[in-house]
């Protein structure tokens, strides 16, 4: 038989074998806890990296997306973002001990930790920061971009002294400049410095101009990108609390960096970062009590119950600025009609969808505002209560559908011209919570006489590509990516809906052009939501509140998206070996455990 069939045959047989084994295990075993062993009085701290799986062949380089470095442990930033509901510029110190910024964030001055040293004993200096920023330019994005006129781009980097650096913002201001500067990943100049060619800084200055010379300089700088990503230092040189000792496909082992500036605060002698191939493996680690802590992992309710039964396991829940929504392609009929969008909102029981799709890591959205429920309270205050809640109401949905001219034939809703109306919800197949949510939504719509079905895409990249090309009527969409209000509304009134910020100028592309797949109108009742969103970049806190109020109301009325559920950050901790975890809703909750250690939180459990 042909390979495909043979391979899959083996695969299915293996699945059957695994299942049989699972039955035996669940029948006989009862959560065994494997001793992790100790390396010294501090012991070995076991965790996973939520951001990536381990690739033992990847270089020890934080610029490489698969790199064998681990944020918070041996990869350090200037500072670590706090999980604040509204303010994106709240940070815990990292390599930067403190910082100051002018009120308009035109200048940011960063003071480094006076005792910061690399794991080879050399001090961390301003030159290291400048080199790190130079390398960040080769990768592009946020504060360090060579795109002339991009909002929030740095214009100059000055070394004030051996431990002080000043970064100046360009003319097109953004109020997340401080956040972007503080998020700079820091690498040693004596290891990475050779990647920047002689005359790099002159070239960078030239790249900020216009004309052929500037274009040439830009190309040269971004052309260094691959060289930086693939650079493989022979050994890890870390300024963080740990340094990589060895790595294999199953796990990475990091040992304490004795030169770390706050070494006294770090309790574990070693950190073991376990690899995983899928969520199921993380669930098994958690059920067996192997992990001292684990970042957010989607967990089914039954698995969560087993995890909680394991001795020492605990859950910490907190704010997670992400929500799942259904986004419409308003260039397609009948979704161009606001009454149809409202009718669908009245027919979706968000509590039921959340119960089915994400019972442990989601709360049903209070209503559609564009903002996560928790921060919506902070942004909108009493205004939140005045918005239409879109509670399940089939009668109102019928009214809306009639208002849109839709007709009901034989118990099924059809288009105004009598042609069948088939609602297709698109989701990437790999997101099991979205698949379950989409199925639940279609079941509910079918109950109310709307023919609806789920269509999956093989993977997320393909999904986003097809979505951007306007191939879908309705697709699942991540939104409310706070805490910066600009980032929140950029998901609804940004490039996906036609507004693009090019060279400091906001332009609107018609539906179907330049990635505008949402296809909403440019102005609604005289309000240009894209323009308002763009203004959030610059606005003062009071003005931001006003704009957010307007956009939330507009989003609630117009429903370019239907907000389904807001995510809850669910983290796992185990008290058996270590304790001192951040409390629920702590501002440190979403940071890696390595940062908790830097903040002096983690202690050995007293026996």
């Amino acid at each position: 038989m042909v390979l495909a069939i043979g391979d899959l045959e083996h695969f299915m047989k293996r699945l059957a074998a695994i299942t049989a084994l699972a039955v035996i295990i669940t029948a006989t075993a009862c959560g065994t806890t494997e001793a992790t062993g100790t390396a010294g009085p501090g012991g070995i701290y076991t965790t996973i990296d939520g951001a990536k799986q381990i690739d033992a062949t990847a270089p020890i380089n934080p610029f490489n997306p698969q790199g064998s470095t681990f944020v918070g442990y041996d990869a350090m930033s200037l500072a670590w973002p706090k999980n604040d509901l509204m303010d994106p510029n709240q940070f815990y110190p990292g390599i930067a001990k403190s910082w100051t910024a002018t009120p308009d964030q035109g200048e940011v001055v960063v003071h480094l930790q006076p005792n910061a040293r690399w794991s080879d004993g050399k001090p961390v200096t301003s030159e290291d920061i400048r080199t790190s920023i130079g390398l960040a330019y080769t990768q592009g994005g946020s504060a360090y971009t060579v795109d002339a006129g991009a909002a929030g781009a740095a214009a100059d980097i000055q070394i004030l002294d051996g431990k002080t650096v000043k970064v100046v913002q360009g003319a097109n201001r953004s109020n997340v400049f401080l956040r972007n500067v503080l998020s700079t990943v820091v690498v040693p100049a004596h290891v990475y410095g050779s990647l920047l060619p002689a005359g790099f800084w002159t070239k960078l200055k030239a790249a900020r101009g216009t004309g052929p010379a500037a274009e040439q300089a830009k190309t040269e700088i971004t052309g260094l990108s691959q060289k930086v990503i693939t650079f493989a230092p022979p050994k890890d040189v870390s300024a963080g609390p740990f340094v990589l000792e060895r790595i294999n496909p199953g796990a990475a082992l990091l040992k304490k960096n004795e030169y770390f500036y706050d070494a006294a605060k770090i309790v574990p002698d070693k950190v073991k970062v376990l690899n995983y191939t899928g969520n199921e493996q993380i669930w098994n680690y958690l059920v067996s009590g192997k992990l001292d802590s684990a970042p957010f992992t989607a967990v089914p309710a039954a698995v969560m119950k087993r995890i909680k039964e394991t001795q020492g396991n605990g859950i910490r829940k907190g704010f997670s600025p992400v929500a799942a929504s259904l986004a419409f392609n308003q260039a397609r009929k009948p979704y161009d009609n606001v009454h149809v969008r409202r009718a669908l909102a009245y027919l979706i029981d968000r509590s039921q969808v959340t119960k089915i799709a994400s019972p442990e890591a989601g709360t049903p959205s209070v209503t559609t505002t564009g903002i996560h429920g928790s921060s919506a309270k902070a942004w909108l205050g009493d205004g939140l209560g005045t918005l239409e809640p879109y509670k399940l109401d089939p009668a109102k949905a019928d009214q809306e559908l009639k208002a849109a001219g839709m007709v009901k034939k034989g118990g099924t809703w059809a288009m105004p011209d009598g042609k069948p109306w088939k609602v297709e919800l698109h989701v990437p197949a790999s997101f099991s919570d979205w698949v379950a949510a989409a199925k639940s939504v279609t079941s509910q719509l079918n109950d109310h006489g709307i023919e609806a079905s789920v269509v999956t895409s093989a993977d997320y990249i393909l999904y986003l590509d097809e979505l951007a090309r306007g191939k879908y009527d309705i697709g699942f969409w991540l939104m409310a990516l706070g805490p910066s209000p600009y980032n929140i509304y950029q998901r609804v009134y940004g490039s996906a809906n036609g507004w693009q910020l090019l060279a400091g100028q906001l332009r609107h592309s018609p539906p179907g052009k330049n990635g505008n797949w949402m296809g909403g109108p440019e102005t609604i009742g005289g309000v240009n939501p894209g323009e308002l969103t763009s203004r959030l970049n610059l606005a003062s806190p009071a003005e931001q509140k006003r704009i957010v109020g307007t956009l939330a109301k507009l989003t609630n009325e117009q429903l370019p998206v239907i907000q389904i559920y807001d995510y809850v950050n669910t983290q796992f901790v185990n008290d058996t070996r270590y304790t001192g975890w951040p409390a629920a809703d702590s501002e440190a909750l979403r940071l890696p455990a390595g940062v908790w250690m830097q903040l002096g939180m983690i202690r050995k459990t007293s026996l």
């Binding site: 042909v2 043979g6 299915m12 699972a22 098994n284 989409a438 079941s443 109950d447 269509v455």
Partner: protein, 303 residues
């Protein structure tokens, strides 16, 4: 005007007698081992499920919002899924897609494989060289990666499309085997005799060679059905094919990745039901193949 009278012992009647004897033989072979009757029963059950199953349930299966991943009970023998739908109903209504794909794959695999194998083996020479090189090429195509890539550009909307692709990827092995059989048979006396009598190639291939290979081909049809079921369920399990909540592969996927069936027991019935269906169907087919072997191969008969 002539009157044709069919007398006892005329060729037409002999055919009917032969057919009667054949079915009597089939009955005897089946009765000899009760497992074979069970095999026929199982396959008939799945056939009936595919034909009539979807008619037993409403177009949109009912859900119980308060019984997500419910344990097996009288009302739900295999429990319920993530949104409270009866798992048995999903398996029953999903059988049509799975079996239709299996049959489509089997027909294409066997029809293509047999035609090319017979042609190559019977004509030999240039025909053989060309057709076998094509077969070699087909055999070297890595099926699974190709299907994964194909699935990104082609949404396999229906079972027949799915069956067509699996069939086009699976005929190589059958073509090779049929060719070998043909090479061996064409040297036998009865073919020599047919040639000597000046019978046409079509007659020799269609009436002499093909019937001799019928048992082999028939068995291949059944085995191809099981292969196709594994392949398509596997692809759905991997999540590379469009979602269909009652597809067995999608059920396995959602049970493992959405329900955590390999970590906790709650979603285990949801995982086991489609697995059991696949297992039973394969078992039924294997038992029938065992019976067919004996029907077509008199040397295996014990009496």
């Amino acid at each position: 005007m002539t009157v044709t009278t069919i007398l006892p012992g005329s060729p037409g009647n002999t055919g009917a007698t032969l057919r009667r004897n054949f079915w009597r033989g089939v009955g005897r072979v089946l009765r000899r081992k009760p497992s074979r009757i069970a095999g026929v029963g199982i396959v008939a059950l799945f056939g009936a499920m595919a034909l009539f199953g979807p008619m037993l349930y409403p177009a949109h299966l009912p859900r119980d919002n308060n019984a997500l991943y419910a344990a097996p009970s009288l009302a739900h023998p295999f429990g319920t899924d993530f949104e409270g739908t009866d798992v048995l109903a999903l398996v029953v209504t999903g059988s049509r897609y799975v079996i239709l794909t299996g049959l489509a794959t089997a027909v294409i695999t066997v029809a293509l494989g047999t035609a090319l194998g017979l042609l190559a083996g019977f004509h030999r020479g240039r025909w053989d060289t060309v057709l076998m090189r094509i077969t070699d090429m087909q055999l070297t195509i890595p099926g699974l990666p190709l299907l994964l890539v194909l699935s990104t550009i082609w949404k396999f909307q229906g079972p027949l499309e799915m069956g067509l692709v699996l069939g086009l990827l699976g005929w190589g092995g059958v073509a090779r085997a049929v060719r070998s059989q043909t090479l061996s048979l064409r040297e036998r006396g009865f073919i020599e005799a047919a040639r000597g009598l000046g019978l046409s190639t079509r007659h020799i291939v269609g009436r002499e060679l093909l019937p001799s290979m019928a048992p082999y081909i028939a068995m291949n049809v059944l085995i191809a059905v099981t292969g196709a079921i594994y392949a398509q369920v596997g692809l759905f399990f991997l999540g590379v094919l469009p979602f269909d909540s009652n597809n067995w592969g999608v059920m396995l996927n959602l049970a493992v990745f959405g329900g955590g069936a390999l970590t906790s027991t709650a979603a285990l019935p949801y995982l086991l039901a489609p697995l059991l269906a696949i297992l039973l169907l394969t078992l039924g087919i294997v038992l029938i193949v065992d019976a067919m072997d004996e029907i077509f191969n008199p040397r295996l008969r014990e009496e």
